[in-house]
């Protein structure tokens, strides 16, 4: 990265005031919202991409886009749903240009021995889930996570994934049935 010239620095200073003005919310409101949503969004990104590093990058990008968005939010739930929508779009963009330095999620528990303890058994179930989720279609993964991990309503899922609300129930049923079948196959 090249050094900045004095004129560029002065231009950055001049633009400093403008940057605060273009953000959706002030810093205090952002902090509160971030504390409530960052971890669930990271978990969503991590499970959708299967890559912890990618989830880190996309998390920062998702909040930046949220701050710069020109959308007005009626409630915090609306804002949170919009954040998940941004995250979903980022994951879709990422699939078009996969990175080479991917870091698979949680290498430590993926190698746990299920016979050792309850914790290991729990870890083994997560490994099974992780592998089965990875075999699902991206849309199925998103549906299942939003519905059962995130607890979104059908309307919220439809808004996040840009689908018709009326089709969510059937799509969710098929995705769930597929995941259940895969998990049963792994157990047997």
């Amino acid at each position: 990265m090249r050094e900045m010239t004095l004129s560029e620095l002065s231009r950055l200073d001049a633009a400093a005031g403008e940057a605060d003005e273009v953000f959706q919310m002030d810093e205090d409101a952002f902090r509160l919202f971030y504390e409530r949503t960052a971890r669930p969004v990271w978990a969503y990104l991590a499970r959708m991409t299967g890559d912890a590093r990618q989830a880190d990058d996309l998390l920062q990008e998702a909040y930046y886009r949220l701050l710069r968005a020109k959308t007005t939010y009626e409630t915090e739930t609306h804002r949170r749903n919009y954040l998940f929508r941004i995250a979903t779009n980022l994951v879709h963009d990422m699939r078009r240009r996969p990175r080479v330095d991917a870091v698979p999620l949680s290498d430590d528990w993926e190698h746990a021995d299920p016979r050792q303890s309850d914790a290991a058994g729990h870890a083994a179930r997560r490994v099974d889930l992780s592998r089965a989720m990875a075999r699902l279609k991206p849309r199925e993964r998103e549906l299942l996570w939003l519905a059962y991990a995130q607890g979104s309503s059908h309307q919220e899922i439809a808004a996040t994934l840009r689908l018709k609300t009326s089709s969510i129930k059937a799509l969710l049923f098929r995705a769930r049935h597929r995941l259940a079948t895969m998990l049963r196959e792994r157990e047997s």
Binding site: R11, A43, A46, R47, Q60, R126, Y148, A149, G151
Partner: protein
């Protein structure tokens, strides 16, 4: 409430079951009827099992999520917004420099065209040049042509060099 799903048809109570798991209330005694239903409905049992699994997975991922602090994310966003604002502010200048360079090139091409018309066979300068050459046999034609080419090259390169020297390219 005791509808038996065959595992291939959705059950109307699936959403309620999922909502209970998400709310972490499934073990409450107040939801006995739904719990009893889930025990005998295959679709709801499947929903219950997967919702629990996904909930557990989400909780574990949230616990281990290496998220940066809100202040760090805010600071990075501010820096990036400022850089973008500065870049946006610089765009008109870059555009003007581009227009100036294009105008210089266009002017040069027009001048070369005019010059060529006068120098080309039949042009007034061509005839005068021929006269000059015939009068001065000491200047070889090849040298005169070389001088003209060098002059033309300078006229092409000069505006481009000025543009490159003054342009503010982003890294």
């Amino acid at each position: 409430m005791s509808r038996q799903s065959n595992g291939y048809d959705p059950c109307p109570h699936e959403q309620a079951i999922a909502d209970l798991v998400v709310a972490g209330r499934l073990l409450d005694e107040s939801d006995n009827a739904l719990r009893a239903h889930a025990a005998e409905c295959r679709a709801c049992a499947e929903t219950l099992e997967l919702a629990r699994l996904l909930q557990d997975d989400q909780k574990a991922l949230c616990a281990e999520a290496p998220v940066p602090s809100a202040g760090t994310v805010w600071w990075r966003a501010t820096i990036r917004a400022r850089a973008e604002a500065a870049r946006t502010a610089g765009q008109p200048i870059t555009l003007l420099q581009g227009i100036a360079a294009a105008t210089a090139v266009g002017l040069f091409v027009a001048l070369v065209g005019t010059w060529w018309r006068s120098v080309a066979p039949g042009g007034i300068w061509f005839e005068r040049f021929n006269e000059l050459l015939s009068q001065s046999a000491s200047v070889p034609a090849a040298l005169a042509l070389s001088l003209l080419l060098v002059l033309a090259a300078c006229l092409i390169v000069a505006p481009i060099a000025v543009f490159l020297a003054t342009a503010d390219f982003e890294s």
